[in-house]
Symmetry: C2
Subunit: 270 residues, 2 copies
């Protein structure tokens, strides 16, 4: 499809952003919202070109594969969606799901994308979030990490944080299980009740964040699961800055598409 871009002449043509949605659906929509929110725009035409492909029924569960409960690797279908986005003109791709960034899944998906021969930039949510944390704590620090059991067990964030000279601090075992339930419990979890989120899921997440800050003395709380910021929208909790990986990914996608459109961040250093 060839359509003339109508963006103002004095700005470069933005690259089209493709979003692998459906992992879960609300995380995809949350990312779209945050891209809009962080875009400098005075009207419709100033917003960036975005495609969100949300096909949750196509993609097998990520945690069940990573935890060895099934051999079906979701990377193949995720790669299929990336390929579809790329063939439609997306040259910058993001995926609002931390768990799916596990190399055992992501490498399969990116290999499929690579085979298309198309020139596409994949923006990693993990690398983006760790870079943001590093900017907050240039001298190092204890980083409280909240995520799914699968994300924690595969050490997605821990390895990257340590490489950046930061100390990952996990909730206690019971708290990790509670965070997982706040995300995926069929009775009150965010994946089942997203709009509005159940008070129980919110309370669990705030309690765990509180214990990270008050008992484990972390300097930053890193929300390392894209369902969590659907519930926890605070930018600070008990004086600790909260890094929302979805919001950071939104900013990085704008930067990769058209840096001139990125709003200033109020990021500050500790």
């Amino acid at each position: 499809m060839t359509v003339v871009q109508r963006f103002s002449d004095h700005l470069p043509v933005p690259r089209t952003i493709g979003i692998v949605g459906g992992l879960g659906p609300y995380a995809g929509y949350d990312l779209v919202r945050k891209i809009f929110r962080w875009t400098k725009a005075g009207g419709d035409q100033d917003h960036l070109p975005i495609m969100l492909h949300s096909f949750p029924g196509w993609i097998p569960g990520r945690p069940s594969f990573l935890l060895g409960q099934t051999e079906e690797n979701p990377g193949e279908d995720i790669g299929g969606i990336m390929e579809q986005l790329a063939r439609n003109g997306a040259t910058v791709i993001g995926m609002p799901c931390n768990t799916a960034h596990s190399p055992r899944i992501l490498n399969v998906a990116l290999e499929r994308l690579r085979r298309t021969g198309l020139d596409v930039t994949f923006v990693s949510i993990i690398e983006s979030a760790v870079r943001e944390v590093r900017e907050l704590c240039p001298g190092g620090g204890r980083i409280g990490l909240m995520g799914t059991v699968a994300t924690l067990q595969t050490r997605l964030y821990q390895d990257e944080l340590e490489k950046a000279g930061l100390e990952p601090v996990l909730p206690d075992g019971n708290d990790c299980a509670l965070v997982q339930r706040a995300i995926s419990d069929p009775e009150f979890g965010i994946k089942a009740f997203s709009d509005p989120v159940s008070p129980k899921a919110c309370q669990i997440l705030l309690d765990v964040a509180h214990r990270l800050v008050e008992e484990k003395r972390v300097s930053v709380v890193l929300l390392g699961c894209t369902e969590i910021p659907v519930a926890v929208t605070e930018s600070r909790l008990w004086d600790a800055p909260v890094v929302d990986a979805t919001s950071v990914l939104a900013r990085e996608l704008i930067r990769a598409s058209c840096p001139e459109r990125l709003k200033e961040s109020s990021t500050f250093q500790l």
Copy 2:
């Protein structure tokens, strides 16, 4: 792209929903949110397949064409996005922009879609909203109509409401201009400030709705511009039910994709 659908065997495979976004961007995201909200889902995989293509920079302004300020018909580019969605497997298409449903624009777009020879259902936001209003007022009634000047001048809703035996009631001239400013004023309008909406835009819209209910004695307030429900989220105002055309479109798209997934509505008759 061929991917096996993983939906439960006892439910039919849902049809993929394509959304023409970017008109404006927040209306597209608002529609996605409302589709999720109205879908019966206990987890990721239960949600419907959705593509949102938001290319605001591709599409010339709709009001300026309808009001004769330019000859460039946005229908051609809108049709291009519909074609792109259809070629990617969307068989149900919705467009969250009332103004773009004007026949002078929509017919051009649908003609382009028709030329693809693909079997696609286009769900009209106008027809869906008027059907909903008719169900609320089976015996007829005065329907307060809020929308852009272009939507009102092209009588998109008025003609459909009258065909359904309902009496469209417009805000006074000054109020119509105020609604337009609440939508598109570069200093405080929803298109420039959507998240959050400016208090001024909210207040204007509520004041106009108030005058429709209190002075013009309408039975229902119909939000006939997809920017308005980004600001006005009440389901009743001064005892009059509010019909949000975006929410109605969301329900109709789910019904067209997979009626078994549609949550019950709390619709009641007057």
